[in-house]
Every structure is written in C-alpha cells, then in structure tokens.
Symmetry: C2
Subunit: 364 residues, 2 copies
C-alpha cells in the first residue's frame, strides 16, 4: 500500500488528467487578465463598472431582478438563508443531510446565525416531493442543491422541481437554489438557467467549478433581497475594497466555458461507460446527468491506490489524487469533466482503461 | 456650489494626487504578477506554499507564533474578539467610539457574534490609561487602533501603550491591536512591529492602506488562537479556495513599500506645514505621527469644493475627492501619504498651495 499522499504525489506528476480544466496555478489568473487594460478602474466596496456590470449580466442570465458578487458561496448561502429566516421570524430551514452548509462550513449557519436545519431525505438519495410534503414543522426556507454533489451529482427530474416549488409557494416556504454546479446541469434539463431559477426565490452560483475561475460566487434574487444581502455581506467581512481579481476571472472563464457544458456532459457520459466496462467498477449515477459522477470500485482503498499509481506512471494520465474509503472493501472518487479531458491523446486513454480493467481483474 | 460628486469628478481628472500610491486600477494587480511564474501552484483552502510562506513571514515580522491570511480585516477582527470572548465566556469588549467595528461594519460584531462593546473615551480623543483603569465591568478584550484613523491618525505615546498593556494583563483582559495602519506608525515609535505587538495578544494588519495591495489582512497571535481563527474563517465564508490574488499582491507591495514608511511620515509632516500656512486651515494632528492627517478648513463645504475644483483644473493636482462636512462653517478631508506625492512636480505643488492660500484669503 502506498504511503499517505503517495497517490496524490503520483497524480501531480501526470501530464494529463481526466477531470477539471488543468492545473490550478497562477497562469489561470494571468490568462484571465492578459487582455484587460491596466487602466480599468478597480471596483471599490461593491461599486464600479467591473462589479456592477457583472452583477447585472448574471442577474439577467439567471432571470432575477438583481445580483451581488460574493467572495464565497459559503458566505452567500448562509446570508440567503438568514434573510429568509428574518423575513418569517423563524430560524428554521431544511436541506439535504450532505448539504455544503451541513458538512463543509464548520457549522457557520448554526453558530453565526443560530439557524436550525431540518435534514431532509436519507444521505444516499435525493430529496423528493414526498419529503417536502411530509414536513410537519414550520420552515422559513428549503435549500435544494442541483446537482447533489456528494451523491455523484444526481438530479431530480424537472417535474419534481416544479412540484416542490409549487408546494413551497403554497406553504409560504422560500426555496433557495444551491447552484454551485447549476451551469453544468442545463444540458440535462434542456432549459435555460432563468427557466430553472424562476422556480426558486434565491439562487447561488459558483465560478470556480464548471467555469474554472479562481473563486467567487453570485447570489441573485429580487431587489429587496439583494439589498439586504449587501448589508450582510459587509457584516460577514465579504465587502472587500476590491473583488476584481475574482470578478474578471469569473467573467473571462464564464465567457470561455458556458458554451461547453453540453460537451462536458456528453464526455462525462462517455467516460462513465468506459469505467463501467471494468470489473468491479460502477458509476453514480449510472448515466451522468451533468459533467460529474462518482467512480465506485469494489476493492480496498489501498489496493486501488496501487493500481492507479501504476497507471499514472505508465500512461501519464491522472484519474484522481484522492480516493475516498467507503468501506473496507470499497472506495470511490469524483470526476468532474472540463477542458482537461480533450487534451488526453486517445491511444493513451485507451491504454489507461485497458490497464485499469486488467489490473482489477488480476486482483480477483 | 458644485453639484454632488463634481469635486470627485474633478479629482479623477487630475494627473497628480497628494495622497495614496496612484490610481486603484487593474495595473496594480498586473504589476504584482508580472514577475510571478504562471506555473506557481495556487493555494487551496488555506494550504500551499503561497499562503503558508506569507503567513510565516508575517508571523515572524509581527513577532507572533502564528498568523492567518484573511480576505478582510472586518472578518479578522470580529473573529479575534469572538475568540477572546469565548475563552472568557463573556461577550463583552471595549473599544473607541470611532472604532471600525462600531461605525463601518453594519454591526456585524453585535449581530453575528452577539458581542456587546463598551465605548471608551470621547469621540474626539484617544483612549488613555485612566479610561482603561476606570472600567468597572468585566471585559474579555480591549481593542486599540494604532493610529486612530477617524481622528486624524493620532497615537498614544509608547509609555501609555505599555501601561495599558500591563494593566490589561493584570486584570485578565486580552489586548487586541487594530493595526490597519501599524506599518505606518513604526517610524514615529522608532520600534519594530514585533516590539509593539508583544504588548498585544492578537494583531490585525492590512495590506491595502500604506502597503497599497489589492485587499487582504493578516491576523497574528499564538498558535492556539490562530487555530481557532482558521475555523472561524471558514464559518464566515472567508476560507476561499484561492486567496493568492491578494496574497501575491500583498507580498509584492509589502516588499516595495515597507521600507518607505519613514519617507511617507516625513512627507506627511512637511505637507501638514504647507497646509497650516494657509488662512483658516489646520491639521489634525498638528504634527502628524504617521503618513496620515486630517486637513480642517474653516469654511463651508460647498465653498471649499469650488476652491479645490479650481485648483485641480489649474494645476492638475488633486487634493481629495471627498470633503466631509464637519459643521455649517467647517469641512475636512483625510490625507494619507504614499508613492503619489513624490511624483508631483515641485513648482506645480507650490502653485497649488499659493492658489489655496490666496483663494481662501479672498473669501474673508
């Protein structure tokens, strides 16, 4: 078994990677700024053309009245939920047990905002209409994440979304969209972002996942909501004097990649099939509904690390830097397709999958 | 009287400015990144050489065990006070009535952290030892701002700092330094940052004031304190996947300008004398103790706007973009010296001050 991080080190040495847009290095910023006139004025505390124009562009794209740029989605989403809770005078929301706010934010929502979440559905499945219908408590807001990242990027069908939205409106529950990967699911739904967002009262989108920017997020909603969000942004320490390093990169890569989401989605489906052809390998979901899926392998993590490290060394293709141990006999990893995939020479990729299938079969 | 913002518009047209380092435009970022290798790896959620090396550099410079980079001082300082309050189990702190947390943060400290501040001293003077001695309540933390920006950047003498520090330690009150402009006061105290910081339990410094970076802050203290601060940084939404646009610019301009603080200080004293030579003009403090001071003019704001706009047009030198109305017959503005001052041709500057003195005298 390789030492801790040996897989990551082997992964970092590879020339090609299955997932992502390429290395997260300073060139990402340099490329975004190459064509920018140095005389362009900085944004200053939320004011100025750079930030206001991008907020307007995103509000229009998402079909909302207004939008505000945030340094992070963590900040944007806590604030969205807080505003809806304050409106109703009730600090109670609902979301999936594997919601980002529940598992990745050190309980900021609870500690900073004293908001109590109700966990809807089991960890390994999506929230459905019955889950929402069966809520007996009063709630200020329900958060839905599209796609549900931690379970492979699964999606409810559009009818379910419409039904949940209708139900929430009838019951006076605000519906918030964690759209960290919203751009990536538009090809599956065959809908515009604005069509989907009209089902929600507030929407957060991210610029460093499918878009591949440096960091940053947009929160969109009606004008009154956004006015309140701007005040909370200052309270959280997010109203930086200048956010343009993130805004200009977000704008640049949004322009580059928003039109490629269909391609990433098709490639994800193609790649999932390649994985499924190997013994003991499956994907979640079986047929991807976005650019992402989880690869599940029915062997112990340490054994699979050896297999992958050998493939990386031989083919110069990295599948992942981190395997997650699901159980003693099972591990998994996430794949999110981006620009990196098309750079892999076809014969190398064929060889990598031949090696994977052969090596896993040899383990039996 | 010029219309609202006419002074600001005239100011923006000027080629030279008294204060600052030059225009806040995208070139600030481009210059900082010009010599950076694009292959340098991004920081990822607080890890990586770019962020860890700079944190270590700043911890050493400030004489503290550890440091963490924050996107903003607003976030860093609320968190520092929260940690000290949690340690004592008492959400009560003290600071100056014109403290940044009191007047510029939409009450984030109170609303997000339920911390109650005691306001020490009157608005128009510094906190002194007696103010601290006379506190009858239990407190978790006292915040001192060096220099006290909103009253012209005034400073207590070093003995007073030592006495306050000693008193707080005896009483079990943590002492936090709002060092947004700490670098700028080192020449006056003739002490290293580390010497001053050893009087304090925690320290925040900023990189876009005297240093002239894009944004960002460092919070420094002992290792346990910083470990807690890192958790709170995530809760606040400040643990961005990548902060390197701010870190690299902070590092770049720190290197450029930390050695120029003495020069800015000397120039501030020189410039203050020039202002004082005009009728009805005074400075606060009379003799600057850092790179900054306030210019106070005993005429109505609208009248002075006309005077300044005429000077800008004639000399191409901008004094300020914003006058603050102190009363019906008095206005003021802030000057913070930086690299811009040395670029002004001497004869033009002479002419600007001749015009200022003549025009104000003509108003009598």
């Amino acid at each position: 078994m390789p030492e801790e991080n040996q897989l990551l080190e082997a992964f970092k040495q590879t020339q090609y990677q299955l997932a992502g847009h390429g290395r997260r290095n300073v060139q990402v910023l340099k490329d975004a700024f190459a064509a920018i006139d140095g005389q362009e004025a900085s944004d200053i505390y939320g004011k100025g053309e750079i930030i206001e124009d991008f907020e307007a562009q995103m509000a229009a794209y998402l079909g909302k009245e207004d939008a505000v740029f945030f340094p992070s989605g963590t900040m944007a989403q806590q604030i969205a939920l807080r505003i809806w809770c304050d409106r109703k005078g009730l600090r109670k929301v609902a979301y999936h047990p594997l919601c980002h706010l529940e598992i990745h934010e050190e309980d900021g929502l609870k500690v900073l905002h004293q908001i109590e979440p109700l966990l809807l559905a089991e960890k390994d499945r999506l929230i459905d209409l019955d889950d929402v219908r069966n809520i007996r408590e009063e709630l200020s807001c329900l958060l839905l994440e599209l796609p549900q990242r931690e379970i492979g990027g699964q999606l409810p069908d559009y009818q379910t979304l419409e039904d949940i939205s209708k139900h929430c409106r009838e019951r006076g529950i605000k519906l918030h969209l964690d759209g960290a990967r919203l751009f990536e699911v538009l090809p599956y739904y065959r809908r515009s972002a604005a069509e989907i967002c009209q089902l929600f009262d507030s929407v957060y989108v991210s610029f460093y996942k499918g878009i591949g920017g440096i960091a940053g997020a947009i929160l969109a909603g009606d004008s009154d909501f956004i006015k309140e969000a701007v005040v909370w942004k200052r309270r959280h320490g997010g109203d930086l004097i200048s956010l343009y390093p993130y805004i200009i990169s977000a704008r640049h890569y949004f322009g580059d990649r928003i039109g490629k989401m269909q391609k990433y989605y098709e490639e994800a489906k193609e790649l999932a099939v390649r994985f499924q052809q190997c013994y003991a390998v499956s994907t979640l979901p079986e047929v991807p509904v976005s650019n992402m899926f989880h690869v599940q392998i029915e062997f112990p993590k340490g054994v699979v690390e050896d297999v992958l490290a050998a493939i990386y060394l031989d083919t110069d293709i990295g599948f992942t830097g981190n395997l997650r141990e699901v159980s003693d006999t099972r591990c998994s990893f996430e794949v999110s397709l981006g620009d990196a995939y098309e750079r892999i020479p076809g014969d190398r990729l064929d060889k990598a999958f031949e090696m994977l299938c052969a090596k896993l079969l040899a383990l039996v």
